[in-house]
């Protein structure tokens, strides 16, 4: 029983970085821009966050630095794809390559440095509850904030005027332009929000989740976060669900391995990826429903007056 509780707890913590980045990319894609540079953005943010944490010892500041770095790189990406109308797929990949090199370069000094470690924080009283304590109440604050992020994003997208404008730009940028909205600036703002959240996720990885900086440490999580937005059919709550599903499948396969299950570990490691496909197939059967949610202008350039 206690093992199950710990499995739940580990799932929440493993899903958190994916959920943060996924939520950012969702906002990003809702406005019609696809940023395949998530992986590179997270790396640059991870090294920036680590550097700040190393010099100040302040986790909040480090996460903010990650957000700033992520937003900055996203701004470069945004400028290229929104103003110069470069292809979003290719530019994103180039940003990823650039980010990987740049983070390695800036981070040379920080390899093998250690941060002052804080013990695992937890919520007093609640943490001692049987089952629920280890499952839910022994997590880093960022884990809880991430859970809040989903309803907040949903609230913003569906209940505020700004969210409506954002979504309408993603659906029909020409119409929004005709109504007088500064389409490109709003797109840039959303792209920077996306970059900032990818940044928080990257910094969370290097400062909180695994407090160290090493080259390439994001190890593909940016790609998983990108996949999550598709998986979630661009709905915030489902990002959270998808992230925990992926994290849960990852932890479950480790759990089963440690139990000595007689299946080749390579097949166990496939589990999260295969599970994602299977669930996607199950939820995608209704095509109309997906088309309803997918931002119509996703990946397409917009040129005012064209």
């Amino acid at each position: 029983m206690n093992e199950l509780a710990l499995l739940v707890g580990a799932t929440l913590s493993a899903g958190t970085p994916l959920a943060i980045a996924g939520m950012g990319l969702l906002v990003n894609e809702r406005v019609g821009v696809l940023n395949l540079g998530a992986e590179g953005t997270m790396l640059v943010a991870a090294v920036s966050g680590f550097a700040v944490a190393f010099h100040t010892g302040n986790t909040a500041l480090a996460l903010a630095a990650g957000a700033l770095a992520g937003a900055a790189l996203a701004a470069l990406f945004g400028w290229l794809v929104i103003w110069l109308n470069t292809n979003q797929y290719a530019t994103g990949l180039a940003v990823s390559l650039f980010g990987a090199g740049f983070s390695a370069f800036v981070g040379i000094d920080y390899v093998g440095r250690q941060l002052v470690q804080h013990g695992a924080p937890s919520i007093p009283v609640l943490r001692d509850l049987p089952f629920l304590g280890p499952a839910l109440f022994q997590q880093h604050p960022v884990v809880y904030l991430t859970m809040l992020l989903a309803p907040l994003t949903a609230l913003f997208l569906y209940r505020t005027r700004a969210g409506l404008v954002l979504r309408s730009i993603g659906e029909a940028p020409d119409a929004a332009h005709a109504l007088g909205y500064p389409v490109r600036r709003i797109r840039l703002a959303a792209v920077m929000v996306g970059g900032a959240l990818c940044g928080v996720s990257g910094a969370y990885l290097s400062v909180v989740y695994t407090p160290l900086w090493v080259e390439g440490m994001v190890a593909g999580r940016g790609w998983i976060a990108l996949a999550l937005t598709v998986f979630a059919t661009w709905r915030p709550a489902r990002i959270l669900l998808g992230a925990y599903l992926f994290g849960g499948a990852t932890m479950l396969q480790f759990h089963l391995q440690a139990q000595g299950v007689q299946v080749a570990s390579q097949f166990m490691t496939m589990l999260p990826y295969a599970a994602t496909i299977v669930v996607l197939v199950l939820i995608s059967r209704n095509a109309a429903w997906i088309r309803l949610n997918m931002p119509a202008s996703l990946g397409k350039p917009f040129f005012p007056g064209s």
């Binding site: 093992e3 580990a10 090294v47 920036s48 250690q114 090493v214 480790f254």
Partner: protein, 379 residues
């Protein structure tokens, strides 16, 4: 580098040039690979040696340890040896091109530091009989190609002794990378070391199928601890496992290099690899023209493997047990693998008094009794 102004760093991601100037200072301090400078006219031409690494030297693990070894060894020869390296060379068709190019640049000695370079080394060595080729962890040799590796399982064995003494749950955890003999030897040695002092010990193994994925290593470590493992060892390349143990209030070891600073409370000791010991010999062989194709496997005795920074807080009897075993490995009274050894299906894999030679050790494809689960590569 501590003096690097903070503003540069926070802006690191923002302003490329700001961090560029900062890194320029750093470059001067860090021993960058020596450029192919013209040799001084009077002195004899220095020995040019080149290394290829599979990871970035900034991986803080395998390639980092290799590069430390390169620097240490080269420093002992002053200007008689000039070294350079190429990092992040994929273990596929690209390796051959890189090696050929290094030879074309006049390097007389090539060190390939990962198993996957074997095929490329064999091919290039055939074409350049007057160049010395050195391959880490491989098994193919030629008149100008030799192999070397460390007996890292001896370090794992010593860690196992500490773990066997210190475990409260009698359950150890091992975060493993890929099921190759080296890693299997380490898992088995860790378990045998623990069982030598505590027969009740069993070991849980989790494969991450990566050499290097710190968040995944964290998750694997967490999973093992959730299931009762209280002392962890890893054969992956980062400090993540050790740090995860620190946060969970459990114990773990450093691997590849001294990692004590990362986890003052959890760190029980570090299994270190000192490649420099071998590189020094290799340079000397080449300079003295005594180089010959050999197979070198060095362990605690030769100083290539060691178990260092044993935690102060360990009870005296644990410290003594480790010291004794270390001494025994040096003088030959202790050997890690000695019969009878039974695998975890109950089959005897090494009879009593049968010798466990390098060939036997090289083909390890089983878990010893006490390790749970099944080897992923097993039939």
């Amino acid at each position: 580098m501590e003096k690097r102004p903070l503003t540069h760093l926070a802006l690191g991601a923002l302003v490329a040039l700001a961090s560029l100037t900062a890194c320029k200072d750093e470059k001067a301090a860090a021993p960058a690979p020596a450029p192919a400078a013209a040799p001084a006219p009077a002195a004899a031409a220095p020995l040019k040696a080149a290394f290829i690494y599979v990871g970035p030297v900034g991986d803080a693990g395998w390639s980092f340890a290799q590069d430390q070894g390169r620097k240490e060894a080269a420093a002992k020869f002053g200007d008689k040896v000039v070294t350079s390296y190429v990092e992040k060379v994929p273990e596929g068709p690209d390796a051959e091109r890189v090696i050929r190019d290094l030879v074309a640049q006049g390097n007389k000695m090539i060190f390939a530091t990962s198993f996957g370079y074997m095929d490329a080394m064999v091919k290039v060595a055939k074409d350049f009989p007057d160049v010395y080729f050195e391959h880490a962890t491989g098994y193919q040799t030629a008149p100008n190609l030799r192999v070397y590796e460390g007996r890292f399982y001896e370090g794992a064995y010593l860690a196992g002794i500490v773990a066997g003494k210190m475990t409260k749950t009698n359950t150890l955890g091992f975060v493993a990378s890929f099921p190759i003999p080296e890693v299997l030897r380490n898992i088995n040695a860790y378990t045998l070391g623990a069982q030598s002092v505590n027969p009740k010990v069993k070991t849980k193994v989790v494969w991450v199928n990566a050499w290097f994925d710190p968040p995944k290593e964290t998750e694997a470590a967490q999973s093992l601890m959730n299931q009762g493992a209280d002392i962890l060892l890893q054969n992956t390349d980062s400090t993540a496992v050790l740090q995860a143990a620190e946060r969970a209030g459990k114990y773990a070891f450093g691997w590849d290099s001294d990692m004590s600073a990362f986890a003052p409370k959890a760190h029980l000791g570090s299994c270190v690899l000192r490649w420099g010991v071998y590189y020094e010999k290799a340079f000397r062989d080449a300079l003295d023209k005594t180089w010959k194709p050999e197979v070198t496997k060095w362990g605690v005795k030769e100083g290539m493997t060691d178990f260092v920074k044993v935690a102060d807080f360990l009870p005296a009897d644990v410290k003594k047990a480790v010291e004794d075993a270390k001494e025994g490995l040096k003088n030959g009274t202790v050997s890690v693998f000695k019969g009878p050894i039974v695998d975890n299906t109950g089959k005897e894999v090494l009879a009593k008094d049968a010798p466990a030679d390098d060939k036997w050790r090289g083909e390890v494809a089983f878990y010893v009794k006490g390790v749970e689960g099944k080897v992923p590569s097993g039939k």
